[in-house]
């Protein structure tokens, strides 16, 4: 796909004024190696417990594991939210959901849009670039677009359908792409175009059928897709886009690519389809969660296998990316960060990531950091959080840490190792109102070897009241034995810590 990133009028004027100013001001010499590049690759809904290196019985991502001797591997890294809106916003802002207040598709406005990764690094001279398959992540990128120097149109990462605007208005892709969606292709079925909308939709539908037919042999279960938007994509194209773009960015840069796989639907490539069909591995049945969707064990096992086979596709494409960057010499001055916005689970009657309960598969996500020139694997077993990424990159860039971030510099980079009882939070805001005090949600606290899960105010719990679970992950990694009893001092302390954090965050909304 051609890269048609727009340079907006506003951006042009900003750059022009900076150029004029820089001609008058003295320029300090800046060795290129002093400020490394950062490439953040996010695979959506990628669960750490599904990796063989973390004890999973299937070898889902052998190629990534073969590269792990060049990485810092975080064994207990947690998303800050159990699905894209709270999770991705935390990655980008270094704050927990109760602070950034992006709670749902209807309440996505970041409370402090200037508190973001791109602006923080750009203030130190970084070129910023971001692209995503995920419409929610794209919404956040839209909100902070003034801090992103290079951002391709959302549709650039997808297989093209013959919708006309990108061709007609190549210099104004961003506004024209949004106008096109609202005019012809709105997923709410409401189009501004009264007549042409239906005609163009029919034409685009024919394109989708053509795409499906063209790739049916390569993707026997269907082409990777975002069904709600009727968009198809190949991860190969996304990786190629990333390679082209990062090769052209001026250093130092921070580049953020948020890819949709292995998110549902799990449409894997031919060589991985059926890979685990007859492996005979059985997964233990777990007690139903309070928010179970009624899926049978057979359904969950089937979905799990499809997900695991989809991971093979992600593995192959990430490996290709790594090797391509390595052979181009790009990794010599680039820190490669590989992670996810949230996990995915196939247990307790749930498939996917709809449950507010913070079980491991749903909230523990991979984090691999590949520093330039690293040739020995380092393992970090302390609990860490997605909100730690922003301060860590600031630290590595040699810039001051923002006081608004709720994270801390990740080990082993922090000269002061985190206290062993440092709590790490995952928060699901449920239907809480973003601009009012939080009255409902689900919070997970990981502290030491313990995990505390507390739900409160959920509509389905009106009769039963708050629900709490406590697990000792050291002795019970499958979270089967709920240790919670009312009056338990550890649980009480964790609940008090959680309540305090939420109350602090709620102060502006009282």
């Amino acid at each position: 796909m051609e890269d048609r990133t727009p340079l907006s009028r506003r951006k042009f004027l900003q750059l022009a004024s900076l150029t004029a100013f820089s001609a008058l001001s003295p320029r300090l010499p800046q060795p290129a190696s002093a400020r490394p590049n950062f490439l953040i690759v996010v695979f959506d809904a990628w669960s750490a417990p599904h990796l063989g290196m973390f004890g999973y019985p299937r070898q889902t991502m052998p190629l990534l594991e073969s590269l792990s001797d060049r990485a810092i591997v975080y064994h207990r890294h947690y998303a800050a939210g159990p699905w894209t809106i709270p999770g991705a916003a935390s990655l980008l802002t270094g704050t927990y959901p109760w602070t950034h207040r992006a709670f749902s598709a209807e309440q996505m406005q970041l409370a402090h849009p200037k508190h973001n990764l791109f602006r923080a690094l750009a203030q130190g001279g970084y070129t910023t670039n971001a692209a995503t398959h995920n419409i929610f992540a794209d919404e956040f990128l839209t909100q902070i677009h003034q801090d992103i120097h290079l951002r391709p149109a959302f549709t650039d990462l997808f297989l093209p359908t013959r919708l006309p605007f990108p061709k007609l208005f190549p210099r104004d892709l961003e506004a024209s792409a949004l106008a096109q969606i609202r005019a012809f292709w709105n997923n709410e079925n409401v189009n501004s175009a009264l007549f042409l909308g239906e005609l163009l939709k029919a034409r685009a539908q024919a394109d989708l059928s053509r795409i499906d037919a063209r790739y049916s042999a390569e993707f026997p279960g269907g082409v990777p897709a975002i069904p709600v938007l009727d968009l198809r994509f190949l991860l190969e194209d996304g990786i190629n886009h990333l390679l082209r773009t990062t090769a052209s960015l001026s250093a130092p840069y921070v580049s953020y690519y948020h890819f949709y796989p292995p998110h549902q639907p799990y449409n894997t490539r031919r060589e991985f389809a059926g890979l685990f069909r007859r492996d005979g591995i059985e997964f233990p049945e777990k007690p139903l969660s309070i928010s179970n969707e009624g899926h049978t064990q057979e359904e969950m096992d089937k979905a799990r296998r499809a997900y695991d086979e989809f991971l093979g596709y992600v593995d192959a494409e990430f490996y290709r990316l790594y090797r391509a960057m390595e052979s181009a010499g790009q990794l010599e001055d680039t820190w490669l960060v590989l992670t996810s916005d949230h996990g995915e689970l196939f247990e307790r009657g749930n498939i996917g990531h709809e449950t507010p309960m913070g079980y491991e598969d749903g909230v523990r996500v991979p984090l691999f950091i590949f520093p330039p020139g690293q040739h020995a694997r380092q393992d970090v077993t302390a609990p860490t959080s997605a909100v730690d990424l922003l301060p860590t990159l600031m630290h590595l860039a040699g810039q001051p840490l923002p006081d608004w971030s709720e994270g801390r510099v990740l080990p082993p980079f922090d000269p002061q190792p985190p206290p062993p009882d440092r709590p790490v939070f995952v928060f699901h805001p449920a239907n809480a109102r973003a601009r009012q005090p939080i009255r409902q949600g689900s919070a997970t606290i990981v502290q030491g070897s313990y995990k505390f899960v507390h739900t409160f105010g959920l509509p389905e719990q009106r009769a039963s009241g708050p629900h709490t679970e406590l697990f000792d992950l050291a002795t019970d990694p499958d979270e089967l034995v709920n240790l919670y009893s009312p009056g338990d001092p550890l649980a009480a302390a964790m609940l008090a810590a959680l309540t305090k954090r939420i109350q602090q965050a709620d102060t502006p909304y009282l």
């Binding site: 009028r9 839209t142 208005f169 210099r171 609202r182 501004s192 009264l194």
Partner: protein, 191 residues
């Protein structure tokens, strides 16, 4: 009857304005629906640029609807005078656009298929072309039946004319907004 003298210039303009009114009305509703995204999450320049695309598209659709209705008007009985033909043509444009707005706003308000549509799809075995054909026939009948009787009633013509005159009152303003939108669009694509 040749193409150019079906309607006089002023009657043709009135027909165009009555075609442009519902199309622009809907486009403006959709722009306002995006107001929060445009103004709170983005900025005014972006919002005006975005609105420019939707308004320019509305102008294009107005021209297409006008051309379609104008072409249809050649099928009107020759005994109709220009005045009657104009009123019927204007109403035809409003009915066609009204159906389309109704279809869109149904999804806007309800977001679910209506029960009768499910019933229809079940009866036609989910064959989309057949369903579309039936719906087009339904729309055509709904437009043709009331309009067929209208020319026989002088009062009906008068009432319809009054309605049209009121509806198209704001259309020149919409067209002026189109021009501003096109200017914004052009500037964004030249810089």
């Amino acid at each position: 009857m040749s193409f150019h003298n079906r309607f006089s210039r002023s009657a043709g303009l009135k027909l165009f304005l009555s075609c442009a009114f519902p199309v622009h009305f809907w486009a403006i509703v959709m722009v306002l629906k995006e107001a929060e995204t445009l103004l709170v999450k983005r900025d005014l320049v972006y919002g005006l640029g975005f609105s420019g695309y939707l308004l320019a598209l509305a102008l294009l659709e107005s021209l297409l609807l006008f051309a379609f209705i104008y072409a249809l008007s050649f099928l009107f009985p020759k005994r109709w005078d220009e005045h009657t033909a104009l009123v019927v043509a204007c109403l035809l444009g409003l009915v066609v656009a009204g159906w389309s707005i109704g279809n869109q706003s149904f999804f806007l308000l309800v977001e679910l298929q209506p029960a009768w549509f499910e019933w229809l799809m079940l009866r036609v075995g989910y064959r989309q072309r057949l369903a579309y054909g039936l719906l087009v026939a339904l729309v055509s009948l709904s437009a043709a039946l009331p309009l067929a009787g209208l020319p026989q009633s002088a009062r009906g013509i008068r009432l319809a004319e009054g309605l049209i005159e009121k509806l198209i009152l704001l259309t020149p303003l919409y067209l002026a907004m189109d021009v501003i939108g096109i200017v914004f669009m052009t500037v964004r694509n030249l810089t």
